[in-house]
Each structure stands twice: as structure tokens, then as C-alpha cells.
């Protein structure tokens, strides 16, 4: 790297750091987080809002058991979607469409519930497994569209995945305003409330615990896939270089199809966890951008499945704090989104600082 800036005071040079330890890496990430909160504090202070009090509210979320449980609950869809993204990003498949895949997962699970409730299909005990299956399949299928476009026609996936987010959200709008509207819902755009046996808490009682269990199981599955299976190896080779993958005799197209399907499927289950774990019915805007938050989480966790679980809870906490901020300080809910974005930017800058170091040379001193 040879970025050099000549100044009056000397030459500022940026060098690639040759290897760094894990401890260094973690401390740089923490530093970036601290920096992010500093920026947020500046924004709040400049608008006459008390940053100290705001941070007390935000970090208070992790101290109070009820709010912590809420944070864990909020973290489930984020975590599952982020795990899916880890697969996609390892494959160098820029899936920005987790949000849409989450919505499709919600549609699928609601669909199963309605089939059962309206038409009496399936036994009660079958509904939950079928919801899992359906949300995985539909979420996967939604991601398979850009996957197939990329594999078959070479269409870059970034914009199609983005567009399909808007389409998925509109499908939900259509359904809850139309055919799936609760007849006893006074005309509000809501589905019927889910029966108890279709809710996440049927496994461990509290939805947060059940969800956490699924997050950890998901992390284990993704870890195992990437480290110990042939498909995982192929996904990583394709991600590093499709040309080398082809050379190695790997079927690049099928790998992309399978990988994108799995990625979308996990996000789909994330959708299930929203309707059956957090809200208990389908409504418009059911996800306040979990799928986008998942991108930040995946990046911050460095695509490591285990770290993803922990980071998701942190971001679940931020979303929970958004509500708390509004109630206690009248700070609009959008603040949570803003804080997330600032963290995201700072984490990225942190990545740069991790990899490079800045050297300032005084004039006359020779280059090392």
C-alpha cells in the first residue's frame, strides 16, 4: 500500500500492518465502538439532548432482567439472518436482501397458521414444524431468485436483493390489508393472532430462551457447515475466487444456488421468530429493519457464527433501547437506527486501522 500524502510537516504514509494478534483486533473493535458512541453523543448534545442520560438508558437495558429478555428476543431474527448472511458473504454473495427474506419467512409461517386456523389443515403438533419448514423454504426461495440470476445470467446480486426487499414488504402489506386481514380486527391491517401452540415459547416457556436456543443451534449449524463440510469448503473457495473454484472443478453455479438458498432460509426462520416469538401475528412493518441490522452484525462479528450470537444480543439491546429512549427522554425511535449506522461506519474505519498503520515522517528523514 502506498498511500502517501505530502504535507508541509512531512510525509504521511500508510503501511499495511504485518499480522496482528487477536487481542489487538478485539481492542480495536472496542475502540471503534467507543468512538461511535462519542459521535452519537456529539449529535445528541448538539441538539440539546443529554448524552449521559441517554447512554444510561441504553446501557441500562442490559442491566434490567425484563429489558435484557426483551433484547434477547429482539436479537433472534437479527442473529438468524446474520448467520445466513455469514454464509452468503463467505461466498462473496452480497445479499442485502435479508430484510425481504425475513418478510417471506413471516408470510410462510403465517400462511401455515392460517391454513390450520381457517381450513383445519394439519394436527396441532404438526403446525410448528411445518412453520419452520415453510419459512425456511420461502425465505430460501426469495434469496434463490437473485442467486439464480447471478449464477445463470451473471446479474450482480446487490440491486436485485435490495429491490426484492421492497417487493416482499409490499406483499405483506397486500396480504394484511386484503385476504389475510383478521375478520374480527375492526378493519385494522392485521392477521388473526396466533394460537398459543404456534408460538415460540412452547419449547422453553419464555420466547427469549427458546429463541436463544435456536440462535445457538443456528450458529452451530453454520459453523459446522463452513468448517467441516464439502459444501462449506466449496462456498469459501467460490467466495475467494470463482475462477479458481472453476479450475478446482467446483460447480460454481450450483454452489451459488445452494449457498444463497441456505442464506435466505436462515433469514426466513428469522421471520418466523418475529411473528411467532415477538409479535404473535402478522402486521405491516413487522420488521423494523432487522435484516439490515443483520448486515452490521455479520460485519462486526467478522462472519464468525459464535460471535454473531453475542453481537446480535447487543444490537437487540439497541433496538430495545430505542423504545426506552422515546419513553423516558422523548428521543425519537429513529435514534436507534442512527446509532446503529454510526457504529457500522466506525467499525469499518476500525477495520482499516486494524490492517494499516499510519506513519508520519519528518522532512529529510529517509524512507524506511
Amino acid at each position: 500500500m502506498s498511500l502517501k500524502i505530502e504535507t508541509r510537516f512531512g510525509r504521511i504514509r500508510v503501511e499495511r500492518r504485518v499480522g496482528y494478534g487477536r487481542l489487538y483486533s478485539i481492542s480495536m473493535t472496542l475502540l471503534s465502538l467507543a468512538l461511535a458512541f462519542l459521535v452519537v453523543a456529539l449529535i445528541l448534545a448538539s441538539l440539546g439532548l443529554d448524552p449521559v442520560k441517554a447512554f444510561q438508558v441504553i446501557f441500562g437495558v442490559f442491566m434490567k432482567p425484563s429489558l435484557l429478555l426483551e433484547s434477547i428476543k429482539q436479537s433472534i431474527p437479527i442473529c438468524l439472518a446474520a448467520l445466513g448472511l455469514s454464509i452468503a458473504f463467505k461466498m462473496n454473495f452480497w445479499n442485502i436482501g435479508a430484510e425481504g427474506q425475513i418478510y417471506m419467512g413471516m408470510i410462510a409461517s403465517t400462511g401455515i397458521v392460517l391454513l390450520h386456523a381457517y381450513y383445519g389443515f394439519f394436527h396441532e403438533w404438526m403446525v410448528m414444524p411445518l412453520m419452520f419448514l415453510a419459512s425456511f423454504l420461502l425465505g430460501g426461495a426469495w434469496c434463490l431468485i437473485p442467486g439464480a440470476l447471478k449464477a445463470r445470467l451473471g446479474v450482480n446480486e446487490i440491486l436485485p436483493t435490495l429491490m426484492l426487499n421492497y417487493v416482499a414488504i409490499l406483499i405483506v402489506d397486500f396480504l394484511v390489508h386484503g385476504p389475510w386481514r383478521d375478520p374480527k380486527g375492526y378493519g385494522f391491517p392485521l392477521s388473526i393472532p396466533f394460537p398459543e401452540y404456534t408460538k415460540l415459547n412452547i419449547v422453553l416457556g419464555e420466547p427469549a430462551y427458546t429463541g436463544l436456543l435456536f440462535s445457538i443451534l443456528g450458529a452451530a449449524a453454520v459453523f459446522f457447515l463452513l468448517e467441516y463440510t464439502k459444501l462449506g469448503f466449496e462456498i469459501k473457495v467460490v467466495g475467494q475466487s470463482p475462477a479458481v473454484a472453476r479450475y478446482a472443478g467446483i460447480r460454481v453455479r450450483s454452489t451459488i444456488l445452494l449457498g444463497s438458498f441456505l442464506a435466505g432460509g436462515l433469514a426466513g426462520i428469522g421471520g418466523l421468530s418475529i411473528v411467532s416469538g415477538i409479535i404473535g401475528r402478522l402486521r405491516p412493518g413487522a420488521s423494523p429493519g432487522y435484516g439490515y441490522t443483520a448486515i452490521i452484525v455479520a460485519a462486526l462479528a467478522g462472519l464468525n457464527p459464535w460471535v454473531t450470537v453475542a453481537v446480535s444480543i447487543f444490537f437487540g439491546g439497541l433496538i430495545t433501547a430505542g423504545g426506552a429512549l422515546q419513553m423516558s427522554m422523548g428521543i425519537p425511535k429513529a435514534a436507534a437506527q442512527m446509532i446503529q449506522a454510526v457504529i457500522f461506519l466506525m467499525i469499518l474505519v476500525g477495520e482499516f486501522i486494524k490492517r494499516y498503520r499510519i506513519v508520519i515522517e519528518r522532512p529529510g528523514a529517509s524512507e524506511r
Binding site: 467441516y228 463440510t229 469448503f233 475467494q240 479450475y247 472443478g249 467446483i250 460447480r251 529517509s366 524512507e367
Partner: protein, 508 residues
């Protein structure tokens, strides 16, 4: 005679190496000065310093007698220094004219296309070139692209011309034309630095020659006062033995038969246009020719990386036409790709991952679903030992290996037989390009060993010496066709050159 350039005591260090160690060099007005040395001798580094791309750690640069400090190519350009890099720096989708005037600070904001067009035609005619200024670069041949590079420099009125390995992409004819143009430029009073590792070219075109070895200047001499043998001695530090590595040629059954093969290139035109050839067990078939004449596309078609447009590929009598790379691997085809550090490995992966880039999916290294890392690591350690790959461990990243070791890693993967026995057919595309002498010999010996073990080998190279050294037969390729096949006994550089240039005439 006036000194155009003088470099004094140049030192340039990179992490772990001293690329230039107290180098002195001078260029006079009106001379072609050859800078001779092996790969990695420090020639290109020295010239990048003169072109302002690198800053020397120590030493002084004088241009026309005045001490200068070069902070960027822009400084060099304004001093009348121009450089043609080994890999062309041209914008492929732009026109010749746009490339030539790029970065030129002349007249206003608006580009006066007509004025430049006229001036470019004038200038190129002076050197006997026929170049359409409005043609797009990707439509040009390698020789024409080089002319554009030179025009770019001359258009800025450069007097000091640096050419880095300019003939590596040229046919014999194009090389001759280039040399004529260079002589003419020298007569006009320009100074030309000609970087090369080819002795013939030094003798043919240069007035003086400076030999570099391991970052140091060995000697500077008038060309007519020296000989090829003496230069070779300076260059390598010991006399070269121009002998043949005779290996018993016991030819067996036909391994590969290619019939009238046509393959599309990246540009959408047939890069291989009706090639037929045959390789037997225990035979090395050399493929000679200037690179970019369909050799890589031919190799990729045989390796299953490109679907043939027409024709057939038979492996051991089995029709393998249109099979994908995975199938070809299973049929026993090993492929050593050109530029192994880009296409042959995943730099971010560990050595063990790279060694098993192909074999991971076959037992005993995996079952239907799962990988067996234990088995792979065990075998990887064996291979590292056997092929002498210098690496801290099997778990180190491949990106930390040197070029020679990356090539050893690729050879270990392709040849060691971890995918079901020794390969039946080895396709080696430029396997020694960029390697030092030691690594090159390792590759040569390995190929000969596999020849003796009964593999059929296709050996693609630009280096005639190397081809004559190893091949049983040599096929000369140009314009996507085989122009002739010579047995080793009857082959020599002149005949091969003739076949190459005849083809150019035919091609138009």
C-alpha cells in the same frame, strides 16, 4: 557524449530484500543501452526508481547533468523520461488517441480531437507504424499496443525511453520492426534503456550493456566488445551448460487426441481455430509461440475450463469433449495454469486448503458430506516434505509463500497423485515463467520424471531454449492454429521462428 541519465549509489530495500544495492548506471545520448539480468536481479526496481514510482533509500539521480528528485511519474515525465511497462498500461476500451493524450496538459478543457489525430498519424509514420488513432485498444495486436505505448511517450517529447522486457509479447517480425524503430530513435538523439534477459537481443540491438545480478551491477561494457557466453557468465555467475536433458523416450499409447478443436476466447472470437494434435504416454509435446495466440485457451479447453465450439477431445480413447473441469480431473488431467499465484491458488487460504483444492472431495479425504481434516493435514505434511515447499507449517497462509514455493505447492497438488494415482495427462502452461534458475530446474526435472513414469505432457512455453531442452516434439502455434510440428532432432530456433512468422504472413 552527453550523459542523459546518471544514477549514483542507488539503494532500495523492500521488507526482507535489498532490491538495489549501491547501483551506478548511466545512459548516453544516442545509445541503446541494454540492462541485462535474470528475473529478480533488480532491473525493474531500478527503472521504477528512475521513473519516479519508487523513492530510493539512498543514492542520487542526475538527469542531463542536474541532480533531481523524482516524487512521481509526473516529475519523470516532465523531465522527458518515459517508460513502457512489461504489462501494458493502456485503457482497453478507449481509443488510441484517448490513451495517448491521457494526462496531457495542453490546450483548454475541450479536447481538439482533429489536431491530435493528425499529429499522432504524423508521428507514427515517422517510425514506419500504421496506427489508426480512432481504433480501440482491445482491437489491436500486442505489437500495435506496444507502438501505442511508445507513441504515448514520444508524444510528450520524451528523450529518455525505458522499455521493460519489450519483446516478450512480440513475434519475430514485430521484434525486428521494434528494433528498427529503436535504432532510428537513437539516431535522432534519444537515449533508450532496454531491459531484457535475452542474450540474443542484447547482441542485436544494443550499443552498450549493463549486467545486473542480485541487486548489484556486475559490469557495463560496449556490446561489440563482448560475447553471449561472457554475458551469460556475468548474468548467472557461472557458465550455462547449453546441453539437452536427454530422457529415454519410450512412447506408449495415445493419451490425448485433439481433433479440429475450436474454442472461443474472452473477446468472443475463436482463439483456437482448428487445432489437431496427439500426445502419447511418456511424451512431452512442447507448444511454442508468442503468448496470446490461443495457447492458454487450448490448455483450458483440455482442462475442461472452456467449452469447445467445435471439434473433439479424446482422453485415452474416451470422448471427453465438453466435459467440465471436475470430470477432466477425474479422468486424470492435471493442469498447471499460467500465473499460478493468481489462478492456481487461493492466497487467503492455508497451505493445506490449497493442496487439497481439488482432492478434498474424494475419499479418503472426505465422505459424502464431511471433510476429514486429520487425513488431509497428515498428507499435506508429507507433500510439503516431498516437494520441498518452504512454509512455516501446513496451516500458514499461502499468500505468505514466495513465487517459487507457490509453484511447488501447485505442482504438489497436481502431480502427487492425491486424486487417484499419477496424472495421465499433464497440461503445463508457462510453468517456469517468473521463476529463478533453481526453481526452474526443479520444474524441468519434475516434468521429466513424470514423463518417465508415463504421463503424457503438454508443455507450453515462450522460451525456445527450454522447449528444445525438454520436448520430444514441438508444435508451433500462432493465430489459434498449429503451424507445424517438429521432432526434437529436426527442431531449432530458426525453423521454429520461421514457422511463427510464416503464420503471421498467412494471417494477414
Amino acid at each position: 557524449m552527453e550523459k542523459l541519465v546518471e544514477l549514483r549509489g542507488i539503494v532500495k530495500r523492500f521488507p526482507g530484500v535489498v532490491a538495489n544495492d549501491r547501483v551506478d548506471f548511466e545512459l548516453r545520448r544516442g545509445e541503446v543501452h541494454a540492462l541485462l539480468g535474470e528475473n529478480g536481479a533488480g532491473k525493474t526496481t531500478l527503472m521504477n526508481i528512475l521513473y519516479g514510482l519508487y523513492k530510493p533509500d539512498e543514492g542520487e539521480i542526475y538527469v542531463r547533468g542536474k541532480r533531481v528528485e523524482l516524487r512521481s511519474p509526473r516529475d519523470a515525465i516532465s523531465l522527458g523520461i518515459g517508460m513502457v511497462h512489461q504489462n501494458f498500461r493502456l485503457v482497453e476500451s478507449h481509443t488510441v488517441l484517448e490513451n495517448i493524450i491521457l494526462g496531457l496538459r495542453e490546450d483548454g478543457l475541450r479536447i481538439d480531437f482533429e489536431k491530435h489525430r493528425r499529429r499522432i498519424i504524423e508521428l507514427s509514420e515517422r517510425y514506419g507504424w500504421k496506427i489508426d488513432p480512432m481504433a480501440r485498444i482491445w482491437q489491436l495486436s500486442a505489437g500495435e499496443k506496444q507502438q501505442v505505448e511508445l507513441l504515448k511517450i514520444l508524444y510528450r517529447g520524451a528523450e529518455i525511453l525505458i522499455l521493460d522486457e519489450p519483446t516478450s509479447v512480440l513475434t519475430v517480425q514485430e521484434t525486428r520492426r521494434l528494433f528498427e524503430a529503436l535504432r532510428r530513435m537513437a539516431r535522432e538523439g534519444k537515449g533508450i534503456i532496454f531491459i531484457t534477459h535475452k542474450l540474443n537481443e542484447v547482441m542485436e540491438v544494443s550499443d552498450r550493456v549493463t549486467v545486473m545480478r542480485r541487486g548489484r551491477v556486475v559490469i557495463t561494457k560496449e556490446t561489440r566488445e563482448t560475447t553471449k557466453a561472457e554475458l551469460a557468465n556475468y548474468m548467472i555467475g557461472r557458465p550455462i551448460v547449453f546441453g539437452q536433458k536427454k530422457a529415454s523416450a519410450q512412447l506408449g499409447a495415445v493419451v490425448l487426441k485433439v481433433i479440429d478443436l475450436k474454442v472461443l476466447g474472452d473477446r468472443g472470437y475463436p482463439a483456437v481455430n482448428g487445432v489437431s494434435l496427439e500426445v502419447r504416454r511418456g511424451e512431452i509435446l512442447g507448444i511454442a509461440g508468442v503468448s496470446g495466440n490461443g495457447q492458454v485457451e487450448l490448455a483450458e479447453a483440455i482442462a475442461g475450463l472452456r467449452k469447445p465450439l467445435a471439434g473433439r477431445i479424446l482422453l485415452n480413447g474416451v470422448d471427453a469433449t465438453g466435459m467440465d473441469a471436475g470430470k477432466m480431473i477425474e479422468l486424470g488431467v492435471a493442469y498447471i495454469p499460467p500465473e499460478g499465484n493468481k489462478l492456481g491458488i487461493v492466497p487467503g487460504f492455508r497451505v493445506v486448503d490449497n493442496l487439497f483444492l481439488k482432492a478434498y472431495r474424494y475419499p479418503p479425504y472426505s465422505n459424502k458430506l464431511l471433510l476429514n481434516w486429520g487425513k488431509m493435514l497428515e498428507k499435506a505434511r508429507e507433500l510439503i516434505e516431498e516437494f520441498g515447499i518452504v512454509t512455516p507449517s501446513a496451516l500458514s497462509r499461502a499468500s505468505s509463500l514466495s513465487g517459487g514455493n507457490i509453484q511447488r505447492l501447485i505442482l504438489a497438488r497436481e502431480l502427487s497423485g492425491i486424486i487417484g494415482g499419477i496424472p495421465r495427462l499433464i497440461v503445463a502452461a508457462y510453468p517456469t515463467k517468473g521463476l529463478d534458475i533453481g526453481a526452474t530446474e526443479f520444474v524441468h526435472d519434475l516434468l521429466l520424471r513424470y514423463k518417465e513414469m508415463g504421463s503424457g505432457i503438454i508443455f507450453i512455453s515462450e522460451d525456445l531454449e527450454e522447449l528444445l531442452l525438454l520436448s520430444d516434439r514441438i508444435a508451433v502455434m500462432s493465430g489459434g492454429r498449429i503451424r507445424g510440428v517438429l521432432a526434437r532432432e529436426e527442431a531449432d530456433a530458426e525453423k521454429i521462428g520461421l514457422l511463427m512468422s510464416e503464420a503471421v504472413v498467412q494471417a494477414g
